[in-house]
Amino acid sequence: MKKEFDARTIVVVALLIVLALLPVYSVLSGDRFIVTLFTRILILGLAATSLNLILGYGGMMSFGHAVYLGIGGYAVGMLAHEGIYSGFVQWPVALVASALFALVIGALSLRTRGVYFIMITLAFAQMAYYVIAGLARYGGDDGLTIDKRSQFGILNLSNKITLYYICFALLLACIYLVWRLINSRFGMVVQGVRSNELRMRAIGFPTYRYRLVCFVIAGTICGLAGALLANHTDFVSPAMMYWTRSGDLIVMVVLGGMGSTFGPLIGAVALLVLEEALSGITEYWQIILGPLLLLVVLFARGGIDGLLAKVRAKVPA
């Protein structure tokens, strides 16, 4: 009996096993840093997964997606600063604030197309950046240190490994959520609009409201990532939502594979591990990373995930 596997399935399964067992390795080897690094990777992987929903599946090239990282993060940071530590308050506020913000940005930006859409999403994100940077009460430019992480009863987020597994579980839950969404009626509409919006309207879909709802869902998930990031770093600053961070998220999605289920996670792992490894070799690691990205964009339209899907191997089952 021979069974056909593609390299993609193998890599995704292997990656998930490694991620699941990483804290065990960390405890056994005494390498504490690796959990910190990978918690960050999981969180940004979650943010990239949410961006993939609008960028990869919906064809909406948002250049301001990191703004929700900032809003989710600042919801946690500001509430903590005011003495409200309960996660049952902080996190819903983070999600609702991100959703509302996405609703406003989306309602305006989705009336435009192409370059204008990119510029409006970017403009909104930068506006939020400067507003937050101007809030002296919450540290302004310097950011805000969070003295206590979100309180969830017996769950102790200050424990690195607990936080790691919370991030891992939420990431998997959101990947599953996006996968369900994409294959539902709603997701079919979103993908139809990416493919040919005029045709979608001609067959009877009021496309604007579907795109808007999709935009809000993506923003909300990214807000969750922001709340996690604030807990992970015990610190929030306007830099979380700076446009270069939005660019990083786009790079993760494109590198991993637009419109693929696990692509954004693969992209986040690849980008951040490369960044970590290369910055250990040279200060000018971006000189190496840049051409690598160029190669992926030029020769692997489907990103790493797309490349892997092409590699098929016959293995005995």
Binding site: S184, F186, M188, S195, R199, Y210
Partner: protein, 256 residues
């Protein structure tokens, strides 16, 4: 005779100095196949675009099944049962053939704010989409990506998508554009079968097809109706001959 299913009155549209639709009135009876012919630039596609709601007319009214639809957006008109196929093939090329038609079915099966259930596995959507594909003979190609089909098959897929939503009326914009003779003949057979079920507004350059299919023909020149009537009347109309039919041979050849 009952009220016309589609009634257009004094429709006008200018693009700068060009008059695309010039005080055009038209009534389409339920169940007829009404062909619109005219030389290139006569404003046929512009007319379809106004009926479908893609282009807003400068003035005039459009009534469909008794209701004024002139102010409704394109998607509302489609949901009322006005289905359009495009002159230049307009499909979801990166989705499968079946997905293309399933989306057209889905548009007419309630709202799509359903976030969880797998749409591709919904029996209702599946059955209706497969039914529409079967009618145009594309069922064996259902699982291919739409981009893998030939031009002729794309035209058929356009038609299947128009049929999928259980329309009341079809607006077909040159369904035979770019088809080889054999494919054209197949399309004519198909339209003849559809004629009994749907009211059809057909814009077409292929005169042979038009005269074989149409119950009534309206001739447009420079956005104006110069004649309207049964095929024999149109054939016999001297004005139409002068303005159009002679030239049609040339136009037809250029498109063939």
């Amino acid at each position: 005779m009952s009220a016309p299913i589609l009634q257009v009155e004094s429709l006008a549209k200018r693009f700068g100095g060009i008059v695309a639709t010039d005080n055009l009135s038209l009534a389409i009876e339920e169940g007829e196949l009404h062909a619109i012919i005219g030389p290139n630039g006569a404003g046929k596609t512009t007319l379809i675009a106004q009926l479908a709601g893609q282009i807003a007319p400068d003035s005039g009214s459009i009534r469909f099944m008794g209701d004024d639809i002139g102010v409704l957006p394109m998607d509302r008109r489609a949901r009322l049962g006005l289905a359009r196929s495009f002159q230049i093939t307009s499909l979801f090329l990166d989705l499968s053939v079946l997905d293309n038609v399933m989306l057209a079915v889905q548009a007419h099966a309630g709202h799509s704010f359903r976030f969880w259930r797998n749409a591709r596995r919904e029996p209702v959507l599946q059955e209706r989409a497969r039914g529409a594909l079967e009618r145009v003979g594309l069922l064996p190609r259902a699982d291919l990506p739409a981009s893998a089909l030939s031009h002729g098959e794309h035209r058929l897929l356009e038609l299947a998508m128009a049929l999928a939503g259980n329309p009341r009326m079809l607006l077909l914009d040159e369904p035979m554009a770019g088809l080889a003779a054999e494919e054209s003949a197949r399309m004519v057979t198909m339209l003849r079968a559809l004629k009994n079920e749907f009211t059809i507004l057909l814009v077409e350059h292929d005169m042979e097809a038009v005269f074989a299919l149409a119950d009534r023909i309206t001739v447009l020149v420079y956005g104006r109706v110069i004649a309207s009537g049964a095929p024999q009347e149109i054939r016999a109309n001297a004005q139409v001959r002068d303005a159009y039919l002679g030239e049609a041979e040339v136009v037809g050849a250029a498109h063939g």
